[in-house]
């Protein structure tokens, strides 16, 4: 955190003013939005970039000679360059997808299907989102490869000894989340990458909860693939990115066929386009990519280190305040954590907690968070989860704690 301490602090009041939705009310109370791990809101510059595209340059990309198509293509490719800069990558290493889920499926069904054989291992962790489990299960069914799962500790940290024991020369792919959406745990990606590479495996990182909350440089982390979603980093829904190391992307076969991903088509033979275009069949989400780039510029201007420092401070405050609530048990207490506060309260079902909090204007998520293995690991059917973003405040944590007192009152 030494870098963070030198970054200018986040001006949260100014940030809040950029998000029009934050002025609305729920049940006659100011909205307290603590569901950022599910989806964040979008600031003015993102909304403006999308509107600007549709009102000025709207057209299809890559195929037109007319002015609007040239402008749209320029904006779309500029967006790719912005996302490359955001991740410390080259523009040729950035594939636009629908989001993290599609990015991970792309790796599984292009890279994975081309390389895996019976007898090979895919190594996952017990804290993965279903999006980083199911594609690998499908892939293993199709190829005869074996899925192995690294256990987690009671604090919700990866068991690194078990990781080493499960990693071997049969391991071809290590798929791991940067940050757990259910527990908040930040995994030591650079270290895991080093170990994966030492046995000749590639490492695929689910960055859905990483990219919005800390500076990510794919070269510093030395990862092979990194997946992210626009809507979790203050950008639009329906757009995301797959970063792929250039040498890997260049060698990967297409996974979906259609326009834009080809160079020439005859009924006898089709020649495919180069990466990343080879992986972008059909008309892409042009406005989404432009909006996502605006979001990346927005949080980069605030400073990812400043964001990480602010969210760490708010997390510490939230952890302390929730600790004061009688009967509350935190789920996810890793030493190195992002702004996720998962908890259960007495034997009150999280769904009831969620309804009562909503009544108080406090939006949290309740359920299994698409991480059923995590719930099973901690012996709970579901948790309530407050997840933090750049616009959250100490007062909002206080509102959460006050609303939890209401929950206890109802179920007293």
């Amino acid at each position: 955190m030494s870098r963070a301490s030198t970054a200018p602090a986040l001006d949260v009041a100014r940030v809040r003013a950029d998000f029009p939705i934050l002025t609305r009310e729920v049940n006659g109370r100011p909205l307290v939005y603590l569901d950022n791990a599910a989806s964040t809101h979008r600031p003015r510059p993102v909304l403006d970039a999308i509107e600007q595209f549709y009102t000025v340059s709207n057209s299809n990309v890559h195929r037109g000679v007319h002015r609007l198509s040239q402008e749209a293509t320029q904006l779309f490719e500029d967006a790719r360059a912005t996302m490359a800069g955001f991740l410390g990558a080259d523009a040729r290493e950035i594939v636009f997808t629908r989001g993290t889920t599609e990015s991970l499926n792309l790796v599984a069904f292009s890279y994975g299907r081309a390389t895996l054989q019976a007898g090979d291992d895919v190594l996952l962790t017990h804290m993965e989102h279903h999006a980083n489990i199911v594609p690998w299960q499908l892939l293993c069914e199709q190829t005869g490869a074996t899925l192995k799962v690294v256990p987690i500790t009671d604090a919700g940290e990866l068991d690194l000894d078990a990781f080493d024991a499960l990693l071997g020369d049969r391991t071809r792919i290590v798929a791991v989340t940067h940050v757990s959406n259910a527990l908040g745990t930040i995994n030591p990606i650079a270290e895991l990458a080093r170990r994966a590479h030492a046995v000749g495996a590639v490492i695929v990182v689910d960055g859905a909860q990483g990219a919005p909350h800390m500076a990510v440089d794919v070269h510093t982390l030395d990862v092979d693939f990194y997946a992210l979603s626009g809507h979790k980093m203050y950008g639009p829904t329906g757009i995301g990115v797959l970063y792929g190391r250039r040498a890997l992307l260049d060698a990967m076969p297409p996974w979906q066929g259609g326009g834009d991903m080809i160079r020439s088509v005859t009924f006898e033979q089709t020649t495919y386009n180069d990466a990343p275009f080879r992986f972008e069949a059909g008309t892409p989400n042009i406005a989404g990519a432009i909006g996502l780039a605006a979001a990346a510029r927005y949080i980069s201007a605030l400073g990812l280190d400043a964001i990480a420092a602010r969210e760490a401070e708010l997390l510490a405050y939230g952890t302390q305040r929730l600790g004061e609530v009688e009967g509350l048990r935190m789920i996810g207490t890793a030493a190195h954590k992002a702004g996720v506060l998962g908890f259960v309260l007495q034997d009150i079902h999280p769904h009831d907690i969620g309804t009562i909090l909503d009544h108080e204007g406090v939006a949290v998520r309740t359920g299994h968070h698409c991480a059923q293995p995590v719930m099973e690991r901690f012996g709970v059917p579901a948790t309530a989860r407050a997840s933090l973003g750049i616009y959250n405040t100490h007062a909002e944590i206080d509102a959460l704690v006050a609303a939890l007192a209401k929950v206890r009152e109802v179920f007293a």
């Binding site: 049940n27 079902h349 009831d352 309804t355 359920g367 059917p381 579901a382 109802v410 179920f411």
Partner: protein
Amino acid sequence: MSDLRDLYNDVILGHTKRPRNFGPLDGATGSAVGFNPLCGDKFVVRVRVEDDMIADVRFEGEGCSISKASASVMTETLKGQSVAEAKRLGLVFRDLAMGNIDGAQRLEDLGKMAVFSGVAEYPVRVKCATLAWHTVEAALAGSDQPVSTE
């Protein structure tokens, strides 16, 4: 703004804390598992049908306050009813949970189920309230397919 107590009223909270007919059932003639993937609610409902009458009905499992209380009230409502009447009451309850009941006309029909009238104000909770009813229908039909609200 609706009052929270319309949903979490004392009767519902009472059934949550002390569910009736909760536990296994000897000599069951039918059973079904009901699952609400949205929130992880999971109940087994078992019935013992004799001469087309529900001689006993019990449930087990885990769920939120609304789903558990609803299952509890359902068992009380259905015990001693004919299978056909149970089906009809299931439809009445679904109407109630979705707010499709015109009060006076069917009030006498609702009996204890009436405490769930507040659920209609909370659309995402309707599935919690109706889970046990869907499940008992499957148990009575002798279907061994798990019931899912999704």
